[in-house]
C-alpha cells in the first residue's frame, strides 16, 4: 500500500497557511472569501486524510461530515457575497482598507 498520510497532511498544512496568508495579505473583499474557502477546504481535506487511517477501510463517517461542512461553508460564502454587494453599494469599492470608518 502506498504511503498517503504524509503528503496529504503536508498539503493540509500548506492549504491552511495559504488560506490564512490570503486573509492577512489580500486587500480585495472577494479574495478574502476565497481565503476562507481555502481554509475550510484544508480542514475538510484533514478529515479525509484521517479517514484513510482506519484499519483496512475508508471511514464513511468522515465523508458524511465533509458533505455537511461543504454545505455550511457554502452558506457562509453566500452571506459573505451578499454583504460584499452591500459594501460596494456604500463604499463604491471592494478595497478593504477603506472599511475603516468605525474607530476603535
Amino acid at each position: 500500500m502506498i504511503e498517503t498520510f504524509t503528503p496529504l497532511i503536508v498539503s493540509v498544512g500548506l492549504l491552511l497557511s495559504i488560506g490564512f496568508l490570503c486573509l492577512i495579505v489580500k486587500i480585495d473583499a472577494i479574495r478574502l472569501l476565497m481565503g476562507l474557502e481555502i481554509m475550510f477546504n484544508a480542514a475538510n481535506l484533514a478529515f479525509i486524510t484521517f479517514s484513510t487511517q482506519q484499519s483496512g477501510f475508508v471511514d464513511p463517517y468522515a465523508q458524511s461530515v465533509v458533505m455537511i461542512t461543504i454545505v455550511l461553508d457554502g452558506a457562509v460564502i453566500a452571506v459573505g457575497l451578499a454583504m460584499i454587494l452591500n459594501v460596494y453599494k456604500h463604499y463604491k469599492t471592494l478595497d478593504i482598507r477603506k472599511l475603516r470608518r468605525l474607530k476603535w
Binding site: F47, Q54, V65, T69, L72, V76, L102
Partner: protein, 505 residues
C-alpha cells in the same frame, strides 16, 4: 396524545419549537397580510418564544425523571457513538433557560421597537433561528451537531448584525464579523478533524473516555491551540476580540442585547465544555488564566476612552468575559459555579443595558454619552433602570452582579491563583470609573431640558424596568438561581461519566 408525540421527538422540545416557528413565519405573514392583520407575525414570534421557555420546564421534569439526570436524543434513530445525538443535562438546561429567558424578553421588546421596520418577517425568522442555533449548541452531544448549530448561530448573527443595510455602519461591522468568525469556524473544523484522527469518532462520550488523561504530545498542544482559536474568536478572548466592539455597537439594539447578553456566553460555554471534555484542568489552567487577565484588563482599559454608550457596553462585555474565564481556569466546581452564575446574571444586566441604550436611541437619536446630560429629567424610568444595570455590571452589593463576581474572585483564591483575584479586584475598580462616568452624565443637574423628549413606549420601558427589578431581586434573594447554577457546574465535572455510561453503556 399530542403530548406523547411531542415528548418522543428526536429533538429536544424547545429547539424543535423554535425551528418550526422560524420556518412557518413566512407563510404566516403572507396569510396575515392577505387578511389585513399584519401584527399576527409579531404575536406568532411571541408565542413561539414563550412556548420555548415553557418547554424548557417540560424538559426539566423529563430530565428529573431520567436515570442519572441525563437525556440522550438520537437523531432519527442513529445510534449515538456513530450518529449525531443531543445530550441534555443540567448544564445544558441552565444555559437553555438563560437563552430562552433573554430571548423572550428581547422578542417582546422587538415588537415595540421594530414597529416601523419593513422587513419584519425576515427579522423574526432570523431571531428565532439564532436562538435555535444557541439552543442546539448547548444541547449538542457530539462535535458535528455542535458545529452545525454553531454555524447556524453564526450565519444568522452575521445577517442580524448587518440587518440595517441602508447604513454603512452595520455593513462594515457585519463584514468584519463574518470574516473573523468564519475563519474561527474553519479552525473548529480543523480541531474536529484532529479529534477524529485521535479517536475515530466525534461523540463527546468517546472523546472523553479515550482522550482524558492522555499524556501530552505535540499533537495535543496543536489541538489545544486550534480549539482556543476556534472557539475563542466568538467568545472574544483578547487577541481575537477585535470584531466585537464594531459588531455589537452597530447591530440593531435588541440584537445587541441578545448577542452580547448570551451569544458570546454560549461560545464561552462551548469552549468550556470541549476543554473539560478533552483535557485535565491542570493542562489548561495557566493558559486560560493568562487569557483571563489579558481579556479583563484590555476590555476595561479600552472601555475607559469610549464616548459612545453602546461601544462602551461592548468593551465592558469583553471585560466580563475575562471575569468568566477566571472561573474556567480554576478547574473547581466552585469556580465553574461562579462562571455559570455570572453568565446568567450578565445576560440580564448586559441585555438590560443594551435595551435601555435602545430606549434612549429610540427617543433621542443620541448614542454619545456627552449628549445624554441630564437625561433623568426626560426619561426617568429608563435612566434609573440603566443606572441599576451599570451598577450591577460594576459589582455593587445588592445587585446580582456582586454575588457572581464575589464567587468568581474567591474561587481564584481557592484554586491557588491569588494573582487572578488581585487583578480581578483592580479591574472591578477600573470598570467602576467608566460606569460612574455614564451615571454622572445621566444625573447631571445642569443638563439641557428638551420638553419634546419623553419616556419610551410602554412596552419597552416595561421590559427594561422588569429586568432592573430582577437584577435587584436576584441580588437580594439569589437562592433559586444559586441552586440551579450549582447543579449545572456539578454536572459539567461529574455528569461526564453519566453521559459516557448513557452512550457507551
Amino acid at each position: 396524545m399530542v403530548m406523547d408525540i411531542l415528548l418522543s421527538l428526536p429533538f429536544p422540545l424547545p429547539l424543535f419549537i423554535l425551528l418550526v416557528g422560524s420556518v412557518c413565519i413566512p407563510l404566516i405573514s403572507i396569510l396575515s397580510d392577505k387578511i389585513g392583520t399584519p401584527r399576527v407575525r409579531s404575536y406568532w414570534t411571541l408565542l413561539v418564544a414563550s412556548l420555548s421557555l415553557v418547554s424548557i420546564f417540560v424538559l426539566y421534569t423529563q430530565l428529573m425523571a431520567a436515570p442519572n439526570n441525563i437525556l440522550v436524543f438520537q437523531i432519527w434513530g442513529q445510534l449515538p457513538p456513530l450518529g449525531g445525538c443531543f445530550e441534555v443535562d443540567m448544564l445544558g438546561l441552565f444555559m437553555a433557560f438563560s437563552i430562552s429567558f433573554l430571548g423572550l424578553l428581547v422578542t417582546i421588546y422587538t415588537i415595540s421597537y421594530m414597529k416601523s421596520e419593513q422587513r419584519l418577517t425576515e427579522f423574526y425568522s432570523l431571531l428565532m433561528l439564532v436562538m435555535a442555533g444557541m439552543l442546539g449548541v448547548v444541547f449538542a452531544g457530539d462535535m458535528l451537531t455542535l458545529f452545525v448549530f454553531w454555524e447556524m448561530m453564526s450565519i444568522t448573527s452575521y445577517i442580524l448584525v448587518a440587518f440595517l443595510k441602508d447604513t454603512w455602519r452595520g455593513i462594515e461591522a457585519g463584514f468584519k464579523y463574518l470574516i473573523m468568525s468564519s475563519m474561527a469556524g474553519a479552525f473548529i473544523l480543523l480541531s474536529m478533524s484532529l479529534l477524529y484522527g485521535f479517536t475515530g469518532s466525534l461523540n463527546f462520550a468517546t472523546l472523553a473516555s479515550t482522550l482524558k488523561g492522555a499524556p501530552l504530545s505535540p499533537w495535543f498542544i496543536l489541538l489545544f491551540s486550534v480549539i482556543i482559536v476556534g472557539f475563542g474568536v466568538k467568545s472574544a478572548i483578547v487577541p481575537l476580540h477585535t470584531w466585537l466592539p464594531d459588531a455589537y455597537s452597530e447591530a440593531p439594539d435588541p440584537i445587541s442585547a441578545l448577542l452580547a447578553g448570551i451569544a458570546t456566553e454560549t461560545a464561552l460555554f462551548a469552549l468550556t465544555r470541549v476543554l473539560y471534555l478533552i483535557f485535565e484542568p491542570s493542562v489548561f489552567m495557566i493558559p486560560v488564566a493568562i487569557f483571563a487577565i489579558a481579556t479583563m484588563s484590555l476590555g476595561n482599559i479600552l472601555a475607559l476612552r469610549q464616548d459612545d454608550l453602546k461601544r462602551l457596553l461592548a468593551y465592558s462585555s469583553i471585560a466580563q468575559i475575562g471575569y468568566m474565564l477566571i472561573g474556567v481556569s480554576t478547574g473547581l466546581a466552585y469556580g465553574l459555579f461562579g462562571t455559570f452564575l455570572h453568565i446568567f446574571n450578565h445576560s440580564l444586566m448586559k441585555g438590560m443595558a443594551f435595551l435601555a441604550a435602545g430606549n434612549i436611541t429610540h427617543q433621542t437619536g443620541q448614542r454619545n454619552i456627552n449628549n445624554m446630560q441630564g437625561l433623568i429629567k426626560m426619561m426617568p424610568i429608563t435612566t434609573i433602570s440603566l443606572i441599576i444595570a451599570l451598577l450591577g455590571l460594576g459589582g455593587v452589593p445588592g445587585t446580582n452582579g456582586f454575588i457572581s463576581k464575589f464567587v468568581l474572585l474567591s474561587s481564584a483564591i481557592g484554586a491557588n491563583l491569588p494573582i487572578l483575584a488581585v487583578i480581578g479586584v483592580i479591574n472591578v475598580a477600573i470598570s467602576m470609573a467608566y460606569y460612574l462616568r455614564v451615571v454622572m452624565a445621566l444625573l447631571n443637574d445642569k443638563g439641557f431640558k428638551n420638553s419634546k423628549i419623553g419616556e419610551a413606549p410602554l412596552l419597552m420601558v416595561g421590559i427594561t424596568s422588569l429586568m432592573a427589578v430582577l437584577i435587584i431581586v436576584l441580588g437580594i434573594f439569589p437562592n433559586p438561581i444559586l441552586g440551579f447554577a450549582s447543579d449545572a457546574s456539578k454536572s459539567l465535572l461529574e455528569g461526564l461519566k453519566n453521559y459516557i455510561g448513557a452512550v457507551l453503556g
